[in-house]
Every structure is written in C-alpha cells, then in structure tokens.
Amino acid sequence: MNDRSRDIGTFIPGADDDMIICRCEEITKGEIRRAVHDGMFTIAEVRRMLRCGMGLCQGQTCARLVKGIVAAELGVRGTELESASARSPMRPIEMRVLGRDQ
C-alpha cells in the first residue's frame, strides 16, 4: 500500500532543472521532479503526464534516467519502482509496411 499523502518534502528548485532528460519529447529534469511532487509517484504516471519516454525512441534512452530522478525525489531505490511497459513495435515502422503483414 502506497500512501500518496506521505511527506516527501517540499520541491526545492535545482541548478540542473533545465537539463533535458527525454530528448525525443524535450522533457526536463525539473518537470519530472515537479510531477513527483504533484503526486505522480510511479513511472507510468510521470510518463502519461509529461510524455517522457513516449517519443520516437520510446524511452530507450531516458528510461533509466527518469527512474533515477523519480526514485531520488521519492527517497526510494530505483529497483523499488516498476518500469514503464515496453510497447511494440521495437522500432518505428511505416503504416504501409506494417499493413502488409497478413
């Protein structure tokens, strides 16, 4: 059970908050940290709110970084956080090509 009202401290702006973490969707570290303080306690919620990991690479670049930031903000270990679901296809594929599979 995860009490979403538990105290995770107040949001303190950081010097590197403008650093881009998700390059595909251009989401910064500060946006991710703020989302956690807005109650987004899981990777899935952060992703659905900010779109980090939803771009062309589907999080293959930033997933670990996002998890580290969320874990640090919550004061838990990264291994305690469930990763976002991997979604097919593995690589972006044109609709005309995908449509050939019968």
Binding site: D38, G39, T42, G55, R87, S88, P89, P92, D101
Partner: protein
C-alpha cells in the same frame, strides 16, 4: 495513516478521481483506494479519448450533452492542466451503400434524441477534413463532438483532488465491503486493512463486480479487449474525431501531433490474456483499414501500441447510483467503452449522490437492478 473518511471512493480511475475532486471541492473528507500501484491504470488511461454525443444510447446522452456544454469547455482552467479538449466535430465515415444505410440509421436515431447530427456527402466530408480518401462516399457529422487526452484528464482530476485534500492510497486492493447495522460501512483490502466511511462509492471498473458480490449484488458484465496504435508526431492536420460505419477503427490527431487510433483485429471477445496485451494481428489489419480512408498517412510511423479492458454490461450502458438494499453504497461500473467522455459529468453526479443531494441529472435509467430474467 488515514483509515476513516466521510466518503471512500474505491477506484482511482477517471470516474473515481472526478468524484473525489468534486467531493473535495465541496469540503467533503474523501479517501480514494486504488487497487493498482498506478492511478488510472485501467480503462481511464486506455481509451481513444472520444468526447462524443453521437452514437450514444439515449440514456447516456443527457450526461454527454451536459458535460460538453458545461464542464469540458472549462475543464482546463478548472483543473489547472491542459487536458487537450477539442470540440471540432465527429465524422463517422462510410465507403459503401451498406455503410450509408448504417450511418443513416445512426443519424436518424440521434436526431430523434434532439442531437445536431446530419449526413454529409463525400465532398462535404472532404471539405471538413481535406485529408480523406476520395473513396469516402458519405459520413455522419456531429459538429459539437470532440476528443480530449484521457491520461491527462484522469491525472488532472487526481492532482486537483489531492490539492483539495483528497487522500489517496494506491496498491490498496479492496476485496470486501462489510455492513454494520444494515449499512455499508467498512472496506477491507487484500492486506487486511479495514477502512470506514459513511458513504462508499464503488467505482472500480470490472473490479466492482467481485466487490459488489460481497454485499449480494451482481451486475451482468464482462471484459473486452481494446487495442490502440499511436503514430509519430507530425504537424497538425485536423482536429475532428473519426469513426467508421463498420466501427473498424476510430481516432484523432492529438495535440502532440501523433495520431491515436483505436483498432480491432476481430477476435477481441476471445482474448485469454490476464493482462491486457496487444495482439499480433490487430495493428497490421488496422493499418490497412486506416490507409483505405487516409492514404496520405502511409509513410507515418507507428511508434507504439497498447491495449486495455472495457467493462461491458449486458445492455452496454453503465450501472450508476445508490443501492437501496445496501444503504451507504453507491455503485458505478460498466461504462462499456463510453465512460471517458462522460466522466466529468459522472463525477459531478456521484459527488451529489454521495452528499445526499438530488443529482443535477436523473440517474434512474442506470439502476443496478434493471437486469431482469426473461419473462
């Protein structure tokens, strides 16, 4: 840790969050119990984002109209988050005379309900949406339909409810409701935690069924798989919501620029998956269908696919309202795939019911005991 509240909402999806938000806004002490670790991880984040009136059962229509007139236009400001609502109309497309007959029937029924829907010929449809294939013969057109972002809407209600003081426990799977002196009073979770409230709103999607069973209630419903494919983002092309006479795909372009298409592989009713997972055939089949209507999208890349469950009742209309046999319990489930568009209205009505007020719109048509044995 909080174990008591005026109102406990079971289920932190779009409906539960909208209810909690409206209650918290009225100063009601509200606690939300979400079974999953993730808030809004059921159908609330796994739907096509339609905010439609057309194609609805007449019983649901007043809720849809109320939301589109009174809630959706201001929701962005009310919740402090852009939920990407667009009221730019819904085109339901047809390519054959058989399609035209289906669309004519749908349109006639909607007009009978007082809705501003009409049939348009292919050329007029292409004036509304210039990217349509020349093969489109006709369409039904409802100018006041639209779409929004379901993930953002669900989380916006959650965030706003929390800011107003609603308490959330996730990973708190409710297994049982217990009565005291004839009233629903306690909520028991899998971990053995016991919560207490004066009013319990059971809004747990398909999960509501097993929980309702513990106080002797049964709703005839089942789950159905639904699948979606998402494209890469491109410059804005059109904002209409799309559907087809055959219901073989629906979708829209999101603010992000990606297209989100609800799809079907034809075997949704036979899924044996424990978790909702994308099938191997639906995406390819849907690409062929979509390109038949929008050949211009042929080089657009699919970046992602996902799936979800729809909780479908026997008559495809939700169960919604207080339960006489179990005072203190309000049951809400079975939105049958049309819940997202009416979730803001449902949240308002449920909060009114939970406070013992007369709801803004009547909910009698959604009674839990309307399912009778054949005469």
């Amino acid at each position: 840790m909080k174990k008591t509240a005026d109102v406990i909402v079971v289920g932190g999806g779009a409906i539960g969050n909208a209810t909690a938000y409206n209650l918290a806004k009225n100063g009601v002490d509200v606690l939300v119990l979400e079974a999953d670790e993730v808030v809004g991880n059921g159908g609330s984040s796994r739907n096509g984002g339609g905010v439609r009136q057309s194609g609805r059962d007449p019983r649901e229509l007043p809720l849809a109209i109320y939301g589109i007139q009174h809630i959706w236009p201001n929701l962005k400001d009310e919740l402090g988050m852009d939920v990407e609502y667009h009221r730019e109309g819904n085109l339901r497309l047809g390519r054959t005379e058989a399609h035209r007959a289906i669309l004519n029937g749908l349109t006639d029924r909607a007009v009978e309900c007082g809705l501003d829907v009409r049939m348009v010929e292919g050329d007029e449809a292409r004036e509304i949406c210039p990217y349509l294939s020349d093969a489109v013969l006709c369409a039904s057109w409802c100018a006041t339909d639209g779409h929004a972002n379901p993930m953002l809407t669900t989380l916006a209600f959650y965030r706003a409810a929390r800011r107003l003081g609603a308490v959330y426990h996730s990973g708190a799977k409710v297994t049982e409701i217990k009565k005291q002196k004839g009233r629903a009073r306690q909520v028991v979770t899998e971990d053995g935690d016991v919560y207490e409230a004066d009013v319990i709103v059971l809004a747990a999607g398909y999960g509501s069924r097993a929980i309702a069973n513990t106080v002797g209630l049964e709703v005839p419903m089942h789950t159905q798989l639904m699948e979606v494919i998402v494209t890469e983002g491109v410059a804005p092309m059109f904002w209409q919501m799309l559907g087809t006479a055959d219901a073989d795909f629906y979708g829209h372009q999101s603010d992000h620029g990606s297209f989100v298409f609800g799809i079907t592989g034809g075997y949704e009713d036979f899924s044996t998956a424990v978790r909702p997972v994308s099938s191997s055939i639906a995406a390819s089949s849907a690409c062929r269908v979509i390109l038949g209507y929008f050949p211009i999208l042929e080089n657009l890349k699919i970046v992602r696919s996902w799936a979800g469950w729809i909780d479908v009742t026997a008559d495809h209309v939700p169960v919604f309202g207080p339960v006489e046999e179990v005072p203190g319990l309000i049951l809400v489930c079975g939105f049958s795939g049309h819940g997202f568009g009416i979730c803001p209205t449902a949240g308002l009505l449920l909060s009114e019911l939970a406070q013992g007020q007369t709801p803004t719109l009547p909910v009698d048509a959604f009674r839990y005991d309307r399912f009778k044995a054949p005469a």
